[in-house]
Structure formats: structure tokens, C-alpha cells
């Protein structure tokens, strides 16, 4: 079998046979403990500073950002975002956000679920946000279709303050706590971009052209 041939070839090159039980345990321990390596100090700050650091840095990646007081204020913020950009009053929502008071925005047309690209604006939640680098973590699942994170031209992400963590390592802890990894865990730092033509930076290569973040205080 090719698998065995490759493993034998590796062991030959390393000048040893298969690892003994003891050595295997030692190596497996590395995975079981999954200890953190050096985590930069930058994200190791109090909760308010984390939110401020996240906000500043994600805006440096060409994303836009606003604060609202409660989740109930999100539908209104969406209406304002759409009219500010001269977009039709129509959005596709992640199921996770379906329970917000969307009916308070009578002119706003909403639908819930995945997309095949027919929707211009998607509104989704996030799993976490990272202060160290200004990064969102979006996970796929029944409550958050991955296509919403990628296909629409505009992606609006709603983040609660308590979802802002210091580092990628903090995200791993939170992910592990909720069970096996989802199919997709996507770290997003800004709208889709490319520099493949003469190393000039252009937005909107294949994913969303605009990324807007709404940070919810409570």
C-alpha cells in the first residue's frame, strides 16, 4: 500500500523504525495538551481596550465599523447602511439573526438562509473577533451558512462586545469548548482584495467588496 510505503520511506530517512509506545505517547501528549506557544502581548489587554483595538485594526483593513447599543438596534443600523450606500432595501440573514426585530423596519425585505449569489447584502453574526489583528472568526453551520460570508457584494457582520477576544489562541479555546470543529472556521480581516495586477491593491476580487462590522454594546 502506498501509505505504508511512504511511512517506511520516512522512517528509513529518519534512520529508525516505527515509534515505540513510549515515544508515541510523548508525541501524542503534545497534541493532547495543545499548549500555547508565544502569544504576542498586544491582545493581552482589558475588555474595553480589546474592543477598541479590534475596531481600530479592522478599519485599517478597509472594513467599516459602527457601534450600536443593543441587538435590537441592528435592524435600524442595517436600514441606514443600505440607504447610505444607495442599495435596495433587501437583505439575506443568517438564521442566527432571524429573531431580531426586523418587522420594525417595514420597508426592509428580509429572507433567511444560504445563498447562491442572488443576494447583494448578507447580514450574519460572528463566532468571535480578535483584538490582536482586527480579525473576525466566522464559522459555518445551520445558524451561519458559509455562502453568506462569501457570495454577496456586501457583508455586514454583527459582533457582541463579549465576543471580542485577545488572540487566535482564545478562539481555539472557545471553539474546542463547543465540540468538534465546524466544517469551516474562517478568519476574516477586511473585504476581499487582490494585488495580482501590477501589485496594485483592489477591493472585491471574488468575495465581498465591502465588509461592515456592527459592534453591539450589550
Amino acid at each position: 500500500m502506498t501509505r505504508d510505503a511512504i511511512l517506511v520511506s520516512i522512517r528509513d530517512a529518519l534512520g529508525r523504525g516505527p515509534l515505540g509506545a513510549e515515544a508515541r505517547d510523548l508525541v501524542s501528549e503534545h497534541i493532547r495538551r495543545h499548549a500555547r506557544n508565544l502569544v504576542p502581548d498586544r491582545g493581552n489587554v482589558d475588555a474595553d481596550t480589546k474592543v477598541a483595538l479590534f475596531s481600530r485594526q479592522i478599519q485599517e483593513t478597509h472594513a467599516t465599523l459602527e457601534y450600536v447599543a443593543t441587538t435590537d438596534d441592528v435592524p435600524g443600523a442595517i436600514t441606514r447602511y443600505l440607504s447610505g450606500k444607495n442599495l435596495p432595501a433587501k437583505v439575506v440573514l443568517a438564521p442566527a439573526l432571524a429573531k431580531l426585530p426586523w418587522n420594525e423596519q417595514p420597508l426592509l425585505e428580509t429572507k433567511v438562509g444560504a445563498t447562491r449569489g442572488e443576494d447583494a447584502v448578507a447580514v450574519t453574526g460572528a463566532f468571535a473577533a480578535i483584538a490582536e489583528t482586527g480579525t473576525l472568526l466566522l464559522t459555518s453551520g445551520a445558524e451561519s451558512p458559509q455562502t453568506l460570508h462569501l457570495l454577496p457584494e456586501h457583508h455586514v457582520v454583527v459582533v457582541r462586545r463579549d465576543q471580542v477576544v485577545g488572540s487566535m489562541e482564545d478562539c481555539w479555546d472557545r471553539l474546542r469548548a463547543q465540540g468538534p470543529l465546524p466544517r469551516t472556521a474562517m478568519f476574516v480581516s477586511g473585504p476581499s482584495s487582490t494585488a495580482d495586477i501590477e501589485l496594485t491593491h483592489y477591493l472585491g476580487a471574488h468575495g465581498p467588496r465591502r465588509l461592515h462590522v456592527i459592534v453591539v454594546d450589550r
Binding site: 522512517r11 529518519l14 499548549a35 445551520a142 488572540s167 474562517m186 478568519f187 495586477i197 501589485l199
Partner: protein, 472 residues
């Protein structure tokens, strides 16, 4: 792709005369080096992270068999499959079989260097399956039918005008007949043309920046989001990766991710860093129904036991390209194969053979910048030196090089003769250099004197001068 590394000198000569290419290479030098320097300065822990990155990779290489087994188990636990392939041919066939199993007619591709290494596109096309590159750079060179010229910017050698021409020629069949001149428009048209291709593709193929043993995940890093569309929309996601991409844990991946984008483009994080684990879950409204990892060896396991083992730490950031005076002069195509720049000069001979690629380890000034900026601290210059020795040992260099090296070795082992010959040569060259101190033409050094004067030496050897000062 068939290597043309044997023609390095001819390739390089052409590249030096290509004014468009020279402009493009100037852009690389200017952009990437400054951005990396800024990114490194902004992270005080960068040097310590490099040390830890090196330690992680060394630990993996020491236990590669074990971590591969753990990785495969965890891929299967998450509902995916791992396919082990020894050779490029095995991997091509495996991808074809997988595509056929879902009656694929078109596949989208995220950027994968392994795909280039195994020449996947022409192979699939010959079997009636249309491969569509989705990374803008890869898409451009697919239209131009060229290999990538830079590991993270495959089309950096193309000017905007050349891209305009390519789009006009190839997008006519989609009813696009206007020649675009603005970069924004070109990006927009590529987006418009490729969007339906993503949605229509039966299979999506991506590479992997990392494979995580702990979770059986693959990680891709892009700015465009093309890899994410590629691995989300089709029925089947195939990951093409080589053995050494393994890292033990999510934490280890985080450390390497901090090094990757900063070293590559000077970003803190690329726009998208995505961890994929298995196929879509029950209840997921989207995502691929099948997840396959095609694991390629292609000579790497043998490298583990060789003097070139450290090249297996490479995370393909391209920093060594961006800081190499040779790459900056001749560009990626001159190297004649998939991998170019300093890392290519070490890896290419290991895969295609030193006989084919013996010029590449010589395409270095040994200035050492590549090693200075390599996040994985790979000793690229000493490995190139080692390849030079191998080339001599395996008789891969030319007859003239051989004789010159032999003569030198003979002389260097005989100090008395060496001194006499050195004395003769030094006084001859000093004489030839009179009265200007410069030599305009020298029979055995035309490679030098064809384009510039050779400064004449002082006329006395160092040892003679040393002795004269009474310091024996």
C-alpha cells in the same frame, strides 16, 4: 511541466533584456521588502516567533510518520478521506479518479503549488475535465498558458496592458468585446466571468498552507476569497498537499500564521485564513458533500534524511524571492520550473534532479539575505553550496567547470604551488591593468568583461605583503 532549468543562462539573458519584466521586478523589490520590514517592526515578538516556528517544524519532521498517521485518522473521523501518493503521476490519477467519481466536467482551483508541481491542469484537460484557475494571478497565467513566476504572485511579471490584451482575447466568447484599461475594471470583469464558474463547478481543488494533525483540518490563506468559494460551492473539495505541510495543533498553526502573511505581503493577517475540517455536517445548509486530501510525497520523504532536510520547513511565503538580487534581476521564469527564487534553487534540484537543475544553485551571490528574512531560518545559501558539491560529485556540471574545479582543488591542496601561481596571476593582471588599473577584456573572464571592466589587483599577493610587514 517540463523543466527548462538547463537553459537558465539563456533564460536569464532574455529576462535581462525584457524591459516590461524589469519594471515588474522593480515593483516586487520595492513593495514587498518595505512592507515586510514594516510588519516585522510592528511585532516585537517576531524574532521569538521565528524561533518557535523553526522548533515546531523541526519537531514535526522528526516525527513526520506519526503526525501523518494522526492527521489521517482525524480526517477520517471528521468524515473525509486521505489518499497517499508517492509520485506526481499517482497524485494526478487520484485527482482524476475522484473527479470521475462525481462525473465532473469542470473543476475550479484555488492556488496550489502542488497542482503546478504535478502539472494537473493539462492532465485534467486532456481527460475532458476543464480546470478553471480562480486566483486572479493564476487565472491570468492560465489564459497566457505560462507557469507562475512568483510563489505568491504568479502573474507579477504581467503588465496591466498585457492583462487587458489577454482578457480581450479570451473573454470575447462571453460577449466581452471592450478592451479595459483600468485595473478596477479588469478585477471586476474577472469576478464577473468567474462567478458562474464557481457555481457550476463539480469539484473544487485547493492547496493547503497547513494540515493540522490534531483536528484533521486543512488551512488555506488568501486575500481574494477565491479559495473559499472553490472549497465551499462544489459537491467535492479536494485538498492537494505535500507531506511536510503538517503541524501538530491549532496553537502551532497560529504561530506559523503570524509569520506567514508578515513575511509574504507584510500584512498582519491575509484577508482570509480558513480552517476546513471534513465535508458539510448534517444540518449545514451549504458546503461540499465530500472532503478528500491528496497527500503527495514526490521525493520529500527521502529529503528528510539528506542534507536538504531543512527546506522541508518552508512555508512558501516568498520572502526569499523578494529579497534575492538574482530573482530581482531575472524573475521566476528563468529558473525554468515551478519553484523559483532561492527556495526553488534548493527544492527544484531535489525534485527534478541536479543534472537537470545544476545551474540553479549557482544562481546565487551568497549574499545571505534569503536566510536573513526566511521566517523558518532555512540555511538556503549553505544548501545551495551543498548542491554545487553534489553537482560536481554526480558529474552534473560542464566539462569546463569540472576541469576548473579540479585544477583549483589540486592547487588549493599545495600551498607552495598555490603561492607561486597566485604571484604569477597577480602580477600578470596588474600588468594587464596598466595604466588605468582596469582590464577591459580578459580571455577567461568574458562573462565579466563583456559588460564591465575588471578592476586589476595590486600586483603582489596578500601573503607577500603580509610577510613584508614582518608578520609571519
Amino acid at each position: 511541466m517540463i523543466p527548462t532549468s538547463r537553459q537558465f543562462k539563456e533564460n536569464a539573458g532574455r529576462a535581462l533584456k525584457d524591459t516590461e519584466l524589469q519594471k515588474a521586478l522593480f515593483r516586487v523589490d520595492k513593495n514587498f521588502t518595505e512592507r515586510r520590514a514594516r510588519a516585522v517592526k510592528n511585532l516585537p515578538e517576531f524574532e521569538s516567533l521565528r524561533d518557535q516556528g523553526v522548533a515546531i517544524k523541526n519537531h514535526v519532521l522528526d516525527h513526520l510518520d506519526h503526525y501523518l498517521e494522526v492527521f489521517a485518522e482525524n480526517v477520517e473521523r471528521a468524515g473525509g478521506q486521505v489518499h497517499w501518493c508517492s509520485t506526481a503521476e499517482d497524485a494526478r490519477r487520484m485527482v482524476l479518479d475522484l473527479c470521475r467519481s462525481v462525473n465532473a466536467r469542470s473543476v475550479t482551483k484555488g492556488k496550489t503549488m502542488i497542482g503546478e508541481e504535478i502539472s494537473l491542469n493539462p492532465y485534467l484537460a486532456a481527460q475532458g475535465i476543464e480546470p478553471v484557475e480562480t486566483d486572479l494571478g493564476e487565472y491570468i497565467i492560465q489564459l497566457a498558458d505560462e507557469p507562475p513566476s512568483h510563489i505568491i504572485g504568479p502573474a507579477i511579471h504581467k503588465t496591466k496592458e498585457q492583462v487587458s490584451d489577454l482578457f480581450l482575447e479570451h473573454h470575447r466568447r462571453y460577449g466581452k468585446t471592450k478592451r479595459l484599461t483600468e485595473g478596477e475594471e479588469l478585477v471586476g470583469e474577472a469576478r464577473e466571468i468567474l462567478r458562474p464558474r464557481y457555481l457550476a463547478a463539480d469539484v473544487g481543488i485547493t492547496g493547503a498552507n497547513f494540515l493540522i494533525a490534531e483536528t484533521g483540518s486543512s488551512v488555506i490563506v488568501t486575500n481574494e476569497g477565491n479559495g473559499d468559494l472553490t472549497q465551499t460551492l462544489p459537491k467535492m473539495h479536494i485538498v492537494l498537499a505535500s507531506l511536510e505541510k503538517i503541524v501538530p495543533t491549532l496553537e502551532d498553526a497560529a504561530t506559523l500564521i503570524r509569520l506567514l502573511a508578515r513575511s509574504a505581503t507584510g500584512q498582519q493577517m491575509s484577508v482570509y485564513t480558513t480552517v476546513s475540517t471534513g465535508p458539510r455536517r448534517p444540518g449545514d445548509p451549504d458546503g461540499p458533500g465530500q472532503y478528500h486530501v491528496v497527500l503527495l510525497d514526490n521525493g520529500r520523504s527521502k529529503l528528510l534524511g539528506s542534507a536538504f532536510r531543512d527546506i522541508l520547513r518552508c512555508i512558501r511565503c516568498g520572502a526569499c524571492f523578494n529579497h534575492c538580487p538574482v530573482y530581482a534581476s531575472v524573475g521566476g521564469h528563468a529558473y525554468g520550473w515551478v519553484y523559483s527564487g532561492p527556495m526553488g534553487s534548493v527544492l527544484t534540484p531535489a525534485i527534478v534532479g541536479i543534472a537537470e537543475a545544476h545551474h540553479l544553485p549557482n544562481a546565487s551571490t551568497f549574499c545571505g539575505r534569503c536566510q536573513d528574512v526566511c521566517p523558518m531560518r532555512i540555511p538556503l545559501p549553505s544548501m545551495m553550496r551543498h548542491w554545487r558539491e553534489e553537482a560536481f560529485a554526480q558529474d552534473a556540471c560542464t566539462w569546463r567547470e569540472r576541469m576548473a574545479i579540479r585544477g583549483w582543488a589540486w592547487l588549493a591542496r599545495r600551498p607552495r604551488s598555490y603561492r607561486q601561481v597566485a604571484r604569477l596571476v597577480a602580477s600578470y593582471l596588474a600588468w594587464r591593468g596598466r595604466p588605468t588599473g582596469r582590464i577591459a577584456d580578459l580571455a577567461f573572464a568574458r562573462g565579466w568583461t563583456a559588460t564591465r571592466d575588471l578592476p586589476a589587483p595590486a600586483g603582489r599577493t596578500f601573503l607577500d605583503l603580509w610577510r613584508e610587514r614582518g608578520r609571519t
